[in-house]
Assembly symmetry: C2
C-alpha cells in the first residue's frame, strides 16, 4: 500500500514529467511558427507560456507542502530536491520556446531562417523536442537508460549548433547582419533547451543511483 | 541564543551572499579580459569557474543536511528553499561570465568589441556587477529596500541591451557579421546576468514578506 507521502511524491514526479512534455510542445509550436512565419501561432506560444509558469509555481508549492508536513529524508528528500530543480529547468525550456517565437514575431512577415538552412534548423528543433520527450518519460518511469540516452543524443544538437554558428561567418554568406544575429540566437536557444533536458535526465540518474553524472560535465556549468 | 539550526541557516545565507559576490568578481574580470583582449585573464576566469560550481554543490549539500536533520517549516523552510534556488542563479551568473571570457578568448588577439561601443559595454558590465554586489548585500542583510533597488537599476541594463542590440542593424555598421554576432551575445549575457541578480533580490523580498514580487514580472519567465 502506498502512503499518502508516496502518493504526493508520485504526483510531484508526474508534474515534473508533464512540464517537460509541455516544454517540448511549446518548442515544437514555436519552431512551426518560425519556419512558416506564422504570426498568430507565434503569439499563441508566447501567451501560452503562462501555463508553464503557473505549473512551476504549483510544483514549488507541492514541494513546500511536502517538506513542511512530511520532512522526507535520504532518497525521498533527494527526489523532492531534484523535482524542485527540474521544474525550474522545464520552465526555462518553455522560456526558450518563447524566445524562438519572439524572433518569428519580430521578423514577420519575413522568414527569420534563410531557405538553405531551414532543414538544419528543423532537424535541430526536432531533436531538441525529442530530448524533452525523453526527459518526460525518463522522469515518469525513473528510467536511467533513457536518461543517459538524452546526453548521447545531445551530442548531435551540439554538432548542429556548431554548424549553424559557423554558417554566417563563411564568405558565401549573403543573409546580412540581422539574419546572422537571429540565426546565432536561435541556434543557442535550441542548444540551451537541449542542455536543460540533459540536466533533467542527469537528475533521474542521480535519484536512482545517488551519483550525479553532470557534476563532471563542463557543458552543464550553468550557462544561464 | 542562536540554536544550531539558526547557525546553519546563517551559514547557508552567508554562502549564498558570497556566491553572488564571487559571480560579480568573475564578471568584472571577464569584462576586463574582453575589453583589453587579455587572453591569460580570460583563461583564468574560465578555469576559476570551478570554484563557483563547487560552492553550489556544497550549498546544496548544506540544504540537504538542513532539511534532513532539522525539518524546517514556515518561514525557515522558505529561507532554505530560496537559498537553494539562489545558489543556482549565482552559479549561472558565473557561467555567463565564462561565456564573456570565451568570446574574449576566441577573438584574441583581436578585440571583440568595436572601439566606439567599448564604453557602452563597459557601462553595462559595471551596472551588472553592481547588481551582483547589491544582491550579495541584500541576501546577507535581508534588506528588502536594497533588493528592490536591484530591479529598478536593472531597467538601465535593459535599456543598454536594446541599444547594443540595435547597433549592428544600423546602416552605419561597419563591424561585419562576426562582430555583430559577438556583440549580440555579449549584450545578452550581461542582460541575463543582471536578470539573475533581480531574481535573487526578489527572493529576499519573498523571504521577508512572503510575497514574490517576480511572479508577475514577465521579464523573469526563465529565459535559458
Amino acid at each position: 500500500m502506498r502512503t499518502l507521502f508516496h502518493q504526493q511524491l508520485d504526483a510531484l514526479t508526474a508534474r515534473v514529467a508533464s512540464m517537460c512534455g509541455r516544454a517540448g510542445e511549446e518548442m515544437a509550436r514555436a519552431t512551426e511558427a518560425l519556419l512558416s512565419a506564422d504570426l498568430s501561432l507565434a503569439e499563441q506560444v508566447i501567451s501560452d507560456h503562462e501555463h508553464l509558469t503557473a505549473a512551476r509555481a504549483e510544483a514549488e508549492n507541492m514541494v513546500m507542502g511536502l517538506l513542511a508536513t512530511q520532512a522526507p529524508v535520504a532518497r525521498d528528500l533527494r527526489i523532492v530536491f531534484c523535482a524542485l530543480q527540474s521544474v525550474a529547468d522545464a520552465e526555462r525550456m518553455g522560456g526558450l520556446a518563447v524566445h524562438v517565437a519572439e524572433i518569428a514575431r519580430r521578423r514577420h512577415p519575413a522568414h527569420a531562417v534563410p531557405k538553405q538552412l531551414e532543414e538544419k534548423v528543423a532537424e535541430m528543433a526536432r531533436i531538441a523536442v525529442d530530448l524533452a520527450n525523453h526527459a518526460r518519460d525518463a522522469v515518469l518511469n525513473g528510467d536511467t537508460e533513457q536518461a543517459s540516452r538524452i546526453a548521447r543524443e545531445d551530442a548531435v544538437v551540439n554538432l548542429l549548433h556548431r554548424q549553424l554558428w559557423a554558417a554566417p561567418m563563411e564568405d558565401t554568406w549573403t543573409g546580412g547582419v540581422e539574419c546572422a544575429v537571429d540565426l546565432t540566437l536561435l541556434s543557442r536557444f535550441y542548444e540551451r533547451f537541449a542542455d536543460h533536458a540533459v540536466t533533467i535526465g542527469g537528475r533521474v540518474v542521480f535519484n536512482v543511483t545517488g551519483r550525479n553524472p553532470l557534476r563532471s560535465a563542463p557543458a552543464q556549468r550553468g550557462t544561464a
